[in-house]
Every structure is written in C-alpha cells, then in structure tokens.
Amino acid sequence: MADETTLPTPDVSPTPETETYWEAAAEGRLLVTECTDCGRVYHPPRARCPDCLSEDTEWVETRGEGEVYAHSVTRQTGPPYDDATPYVVAYVELAEGPRLLTNIVTDDPGALSVGQPVEVCFHETDDGEHAVPRFEPV
C-alpha cells in the first residue's frame, strides 16, 4: 500500500489514544477526530475534545486533500534527517479544517507556494510496522 520514499521515516509509538489513527494510516486512510457534542474537528487525536473536554468523539476519514499553509525547505538539520536535506516541512490545511505538520514530497521544492493544492500519500515507517501520512503536490 505504502509509497516509496527516500525520506527517513522514524518509527512511531502508538498509544491507546492514537492506535486507531496509525492503523488507518497503515491502510492508506488519514483520520481526524470530531467531537459529537460540540462539533470541533481536530488533530492530533486525543481522547477528549480540546474545546469542551467531552469524551464523545469519533474518527472521521478525510479526503486526504488540502493546501499548503506554510512550508520551509530545510537545508541543515540533525539526525535522522541530516542525510535527507533538502526536504520540505510544512503545515497542510486539510479540506476538513485542521492544519497538520507534515512533509511535502517533491523533486522541485523551490516551486512550492502557500495555497498550493496537495494530496496525501503514505510512507512505511523504518520498522515496517506502521505508515505515516505525507503530502505531494496535486
């Protein structure tokens, strides 16, 4: 299911709050969370709504589409990404609302711009156990 990447993809450590998110990611689905009491759609996942602290929250599958909110081409950093420079770190604003931190995967980072449409892709973690969402220009 997962796409190929040259970026390091460190292992993640799912918790009881986040394991559903990571299981979905391994299946190529990007989830966010919605509070059924107040309607807040949020990310990263947590058991209680960050607005009203309700426990009545549910997973929502996103379309995996969004746009670049802000991005930076990182040219110098520490391990494990030091061999992967230049790479792009960004906030992507999902169509469903939340802005999430991620990487933009592109051969031409200089051509990226704020507002550019992007779509999700998934990369297997280095331990092969999970997958993480990244984005690429549409």
């Binding site: 799912p14 807040r40 990263p44 990182t74 110098q76 770190v89 906030y91």
Partner: protein
C-alpha cells in the same frame, strides 16, 4: 511603584561562551556567586530559589549550591523564557510574603556538549518529530506565513540582525562583534528558507543569575535596585489544528504586564526582546503593540531598534543573535541587559540616556508548535 513592589538587586551574565572545561552545575555556581555578589548578599540570605530544566533538577541544584532553609522553590519550565517568568513568580512570592531573597540561576553547554538537555517528548511527538522538525524550520514556517500574509521581506527581517550586530561591537564578551549589513544577512546561506544563517541566534555555553528581593531588603542594600513593575505570561499553542503562525503569546502577556505596571508603550525607554530568530522579534513587537499587526517588518526599518537614538532601542548587548543564547535559552541575558540599562551600566555607546522604564520579553518553545511568552516591565527609582 507601590511599596510592595519587589526589586532586582543583583544580576550576573557568565562571560563564557564556550565551556568544555566546566560542568553545567559549576556554571550555575558561578552565576549564583556573581549575582549575589552584585547584590551585596550571600547564600545565607537566600530563602527562595528558582531554576528550570529537567525534572528533579531544582532539588539537585539546591543541594549543589548548598542552599539551606529555603521557604520557596519554583522549577517552572517554559523553555527559553523560564527565567523571565521566574522573576515574575519571584516578585509574586515576595509580595505574598513567601520569601525575601529569591535567587534565579540558569546554565547550559549546548556548544561544547551537544545533546545537553533538549525538550522531552510530549504526546504530540509522533505527529511532529516524525517529519524532521527542528527549531529552525519551525520558526521558518512562522516567517513564511508572516511573509505570505503581510508582505514582510527578508530584507526587513535582516534589519533586526543589523541592529543587534551594531550593538554587539561594543560588547567584548559577545560571540559575534562584527557589524553586518542587510546584504550580509540575505546573502548568507539559507538554513531553512526563508531563514538565513544570520537570521538565527548563536549557540553558546554559559548562564546567568538574578536576585529578586523584597522592598525592605532592597532598602538596606547599597546597590541600585530595579523594581519589578509588571509581569505577564501566556502559553500559545497548536490549538488542535487551528494554529496561527503569525502571532505569539505576547498578545496576552504584553497587556498583562503593561496593565500591572500602569505604563504605556510611550513610557518604554528600552526593550530586551527575545531574538532566537529575526522573525521572533518582528512578531513579538507587533504582538506587544509597538506597531500594528503585520507592520513589524516596516517598523524595524530605518534604525528603529538601534541604540541610543532609535525609537525603540533593543538588545544593546547584541542579543541572542550576536551576544549570547546560553543553553539555547535566551531569557536570562534579556533580563540582565534591561537591568544594566536601567542602572546606567550598559556599554557607553549604546546606553540609552535617562533610561527609566525597561521592558524584558522572553519566548520559549517553538513558534511552529507551542510556545510561552513572558513580559516584564522593570524600572523606577528605589
């Protein structure tokens, strides 16, 4: 300037910027001794102690420094602004009668011992660290968005570095003492665009200390004491996916400090503004209300920040950009330089004439995820 106002009686900035030959605890000891000597006090006078860092550090430092009979301790950790908050907390503790002589120390050696400390991972780690985030690229995202929304330019950000470097040439302890031009900054290599190497602060070993005392203690000292007139702090964060990268917690901490002190922007003669990166200063000045939101780039043009004659002289020690950013936490030197200005002890060419009211602003954490802001208004005759 009421009777219950606590005061800063002593400050000390460690002169080292590279300390492979000392332990971090040893630096704490050096700055404790320096700050107490500056105040004319000894460890026997100390009944309150403040430091930040790894869990448990405060107890081991109380032990190491041999402090006895403490009636108040505080290990609040808000990253680089921890110590600015400590001064506010110490003033509150003094006002509440919890202690009379509060010692604040900090030290670290990220230059000679990389990997010393570092933020503990929180519940957000899998959603952030996975993607190769670091300090520079997170502030770079803030700069990118600020440029996108307000048209801020790289040349405008560079003006912040130019002013800091102008000041640093008079500080013999500063890590970088050479003046720079806007061209030097924008032509330096990109570390994480749009931030260039010269948009970034130094990485330095070192530390500093502050002594906050009650009015009664201050009145008995021979040293010039600087009143803590106002304090405000705030934490601003990712907001579960609704993050705004173009503002900081200063929108809340600033008004709190100004209101507590009963002063306005026009009263501020000098400002120490946390300068981890040039964008940090531009966003903070807007958020503190020295200019409109989005106009920070324009505000810093034309020597606004340059002492002694600029509209708002800032970071006259050279700041974190040129002088010192010990332990990757620049709040302490910000306090110290404000006190120097208010005592008339800044380096001669950058001493602000008749400096009566100073502002110290600290920033901790990351503009790209979650951060803390602390504002102090200092000054007044004692």
């Amino acid at each position: 300037m009421t009777d219950h106002t606590a005061a800063i009686a002593g400050v000390y900035e460690h002169p080292t910027r590279n300390a492979p030959d000392k332990s971090t605890a040893q630096l704490h000891g050096d700055v404790a001794a320096g700050a107490l000597e500056d105040a004319g006090l000894t460890t026997a006078d100390v009944d309150g102690y403040f430091t930040a860092g790894r869990p448990g550090r405060v107890m081991s430092m109380v032990d190491y420094l041999g402090l006895e009979g403490l009636s108040y301790v505080d290990s609040t950790d808000l990253g680089g602004t921890s110590y600015v908050s400590h001064v506010g907390h110490a003033a509150a503790a003094v006002a509440a009668g919890k202690c009379e002589v509060a010692l604040v120390t900090m030290a670290g050696r990220p230059r000679s011992r990389s990997g010393d400390g570092g933020p503990p991972s929180g519940p957000q780690a899998d959603f952030e660290e996975t993607y190769g985030i670091g300090t520079v690229n997170m502030y770079a995202l803030a700069a990118r968005r600020h440029m996108h929304e307000y048209g801020t330019t790289a040349e405008q950000l560079a003006e912040v570095r130019v002013a800091a470097a102008e000041h640093a040439q008079y500080n013999e302890d500063a890590m970088f003492q050479e003046p720079v031009t806007v061209e030097d900054v924008v032509e330096s290599r990109l570390v994480s665009d749009p931030l260039h190497l010269l948009d970034c602060c130094v990485v330095s070993d070192g530390g500093g200390g502050v002594v906050v005392v009650s009015p009664a203690v201050a009145d008995d000292l021979d040293r010039d004491c600087v009143s803590v007139l106002g304090h405000g702090e705030a934490v601003k964060h990712h907001d579960a996916g609704d993050i705004d990268l173009t503002h900081t917690g200063a929108v809340e901490s600033g008004p709190r400090a100004f209101e507590a002190a009963g002063v306005t922007h026009d009263d501020i003669d000098y400002a120490s503004v946390y300068d981890s990166f040039t964008i940090t200063v531009v966003e903070t000045l807007e958020d503190l209300g020295f200019c409109e939101k989005g106009a920070g780039g324009e505000f810093v043009e034309g020597g606004t920040l340059q002492a002694p004659d600029g509209e708002l002289p800032f970071n006259t020690d050279g700041g974190g950009l040129c002088n010192n950013h010990p332990a990757n936490r620049g709040g302490m030197p910000k306090i110290i330089e404000t006190v120097r200005q208010l005592r008339g002890e800044a380096n001669d060419p950058v001493q602000v004439p008749d400096c009566e009211i100073g502002l110290t602003h600290g920033t901790g954490g990351s503009l790209g995820t979650r951060m803390a802001s602390t504002t102090l208004v200092l000054g007044g005759d004692r």
